[in-house]
């Protein structure tokens, strides 16, 4: 992979930002400052798709959406303020963790319904095709979502209409407490692509370069009008399905430990060090900076007012 060291370091910083953001979100959730539910992406931060996108390209996410937001360039302050339920949040406190969106940067939202976003972003892909400006759209979803109807309906439509789409299945081997092995007849979701006559690619989901590369190829194909690609990233979440206390988790300690040893952040850091492109001091500095940014985001959120109760009645209809 021949990305310039600057870009690589930027990728590392981004993964680190995701991790730190979520560590803080988890802590603040347990401290009662964030409400409802938080789904952590920790362990899956190697989201190398967005680094291959350009401005104007659009993505959609899932209930586990912080990583995609950050990778697409969302403002940490407004994200954290949303988690804190404040007026200054992305959704003015109406959405929370499962519903952060930033249409301005082409992030069409986290989504609380499994497979609920796939169709919406396919519509963004159709719009991109009709615009004719070479833009693409990206649907992120989990292994669990790949068993739901919209996956099939949209892959067929996108393949038939040759929509400029990337379907990115982040296969972390579990849907809540249920293993993919119990719910999928085949280990590879990517194998379903052939039925629609489109490429189906399996990549190491903890190798940000592998993902970036596969995404770059799919994006080129999409921009060239050749249609969608299905990319399956094999990965694993370190934490429980949600941050809620007392939820069952049937995964073994051993399985979790194995995957912790494949930490995508440690891996990229190691690669950069091996290339001589990152010193220990660089790493310390990066950690410090990232942690300061998260601190700023929290400070912003804490300083922001809650919405006024009556604001519940705002934003019902567009003018």
């Amino acid at each position: 992979m021949n990305l310039p060291p600057d870009k690589q370091r930027e990728m590392l910083r981004q993964m680190l930002t995701i991790r730190c953001f979520e560590e803080r979100a988890s802590a603040d959730y347990h401290a009662g400052k964030i409400y409802g539910v938080v789904h952590c992406y920790i362990g899956e931060e190697a989201v190398g798709v967005c680094s291959a996108l350009e401005q104007g390209d659009q993505i959609i996410s899932t209930h586990r959406g912080h990583g995609h937001c950050i990778a697409k360039g969302a403002d940490l302050k407004r994200m954290m303020a949303e988690l804190y339920g404040r007026q200054t949040g992305y959704c003015k406190g109406k959405g929370g963790s499962m519903h952060i969106a930033d249409f301005g940067i082409g992030m069409l939202g986290a989504n609380g319904i499994v497979a609920g976003g796939i169709s919406i972003v396919t519509g963004a892909g159709l719009a991109a095709q009709m615009d004719g400006k070479g833009r693409v759209a990206v649907s992120f979803f989990g292994d669990g979502a790949s068993n739901a109807g919209p996956f099939h309906e949209c892959l067929n439509i996108a393949a038939t209409w040759k929509l400029p789409m990337l379907y990115i299945c982040e296969n972390n081997m579990y849907a809540a407490q249920t293993s993919a092995a119990e719910t999928h007849a085949m280990p590879d979701v990517a194998g379903r692509a052939a039925g629609y006559g489109i490429p189906g690619v399996v990549v190491d989901g903890n190798d940000i370069f592998a993902i970036h590369q596969a995404a770059a190829r799919a994006i080129a194909r999409a921009r060239a009008g050749e249609g969608p690609t299905l990319i399956e990233c094999k990965t694993f979440r370190w934490r429980a399905h949600t941050e809620r206390i007392g939820q069952p988790d049937f995964r073994t300690e051993e399985e979790i430990e194995t995957w912790k040893r494949r930490d995508p952040i440690a891996r990229l850091r190691g690669q950069l060090e091996a290339q001589g492109a990152l010193t220990d001091a660089d790493w310390q500095a990066m950690n410090k900076e990232v942690s300061a940014t998260i601190g700023d985001a929290v400070a912003f959120a804490e300083a922001s007012p809650f919405p006024a109760p009556e604001q519940a009645l705002e934003d019902m209809y567009a003018a």
């Binding site: 959405g95 519903h99 969106a101 519509g123 615009d131 919209p150 439509i157 209809y317």
Partner: protein
């Protein structure tokens, strides 16, 4: 004025708007041939049978600057798309704090009389009315349909156009030129003083026929056609009942938690209207069963002018003396 069928009025509204606005495109498992011919297969898409995905695709395209129209055809087919309707279309503007507008028009045919049985004949609009975030209407005439469709296509929110199966081939006057009927404004289809009949779609025509019949007995019926279901014109309904003191709601749907229940509540929860209400409200609705196939059975299930007349007589019972008051 020109006479068009209800179906023609619908196509005309769509075609006129599509000519004026390149951002509009149309999707359906079987679009009208005339639209396909005029606008070609990119702007009028014959889609795979995947109404769920297409309902969401419409939302996404709308959020990206287009103004899609998704024609579900029979409303019973829309249930495969219900997640996208309930959890996405209705919530997306609010949930994200109003970041984007989502101008989508959904079209759905409702009602019976077609002998197509339970999986094609249904009037489930109150299921959609219960949602927060969607606008919707159900016109009774070609002219109303065209005018409301034009407004809906220009609206920046998801709107559902419910269109009556029974009325597709009925003709009515349609004004020339460009006109639009605002959402949320009821139309008094006949004025009267003894009883208010609030009716929608086909039942408006049955109510008018009933009114004609009742007039022979000196009973004066006011027929209020809300036209829009959300937002519902509370003021017009209440004003009429304040005048007549009596309410019959005639609806092709079943009663339970239906449009008719909502109208009953809107009337009876308003102190000024309640104060003038002289008789129990009366729902004249379909029987509470899925729609059967055999004509004998189907015709028995749906309300008609006869049942409206009986309903009107019922709310007038023992109270004709009130008229003197």
């Amino acid at each position: 004025m020109r006479e068009l069928t209800y179906a023609q009025a619908g196509v005309e509204a769509v075609a006129e708007e599509m000519r004026n606005d390149q951002r509009i495109f149309y999707m359906s498992t079987d679009p009208a041939v005339s639209l396909m011919k005029e606008f070609g297969n990119k702007r009028v898409r014959a889609t795979p049978i995947a109404e769920g995905a297409l309902t969401g695709i419409a939302i996404g395209a709308a959020g990206s600057g287009y103004r899609p129209i998704m024609d579900w055809r029979q409303v019973t087919f829309s249930f495969v798309a219900m997640d996208q309707i309930v959890n996405q279309a209705a919530k997306i503007h609010y949930m994200f704090g109003g970041q984007r507008t989502f101008p989508v028009l959904y079209r759905a045919n409702v009602g019976g009389g077609t002998r197509l049985a339970a999986q094609h004949c249904q009037c489930p609009y109150s299921m959609f009315m219960n949602l927060s975030g969607l606008k919707m209407f159900l016109p009774s005439t070609p002219g109303d349909l065209k005018g409301l469709l034009k407004t809906a296509i220009r609206d920046n929110n998801p709107v559902i156009s419910f269109e009556s199966n029974r009325l597709l081939t009925t003709k009515g006057p349609v004004p020339d030129g460009d006109y639009a009927i605002p959402l949320g404004v009821a139309d008094i289809k006949r004025t009267g003083s003894d009883v208010t009949v609030v009716a929608v779609a086909w039942l408006v025509h049955e109510a008018l026929a009933a009114a004609e019949e009742l007039a022979k007995d000196g009973i004066s019926v006011e027929v209020v056609d809300p036209r829009t279901l959300v937002p519902l014109d509370h003021a017009a309904i209440r004003a009429s009942v304040q005048k007549t003191g009596r309410l019959v709601v005639a609806d092709e749907a079943g009663p339970t938690a239906g449009f008719s229940a909502e109208v009953a509540a809107v009337v009876t929860e308003d102190p000024a209207t309640f104060a003038r209400l002289k008789a129990p409200v009366k729902r004249v609705c379909a029987l509470n069963v899925p729609i059967p196939y055999s004509p004998v059975l189907e015709d028995h299930v749906f309300p008609d002018r006869k049942r409206i007349i009986a309903g009107v007589r019922e709310v007038l019972q023992g109270r004709l003396s009130d008229k003197a008051v």
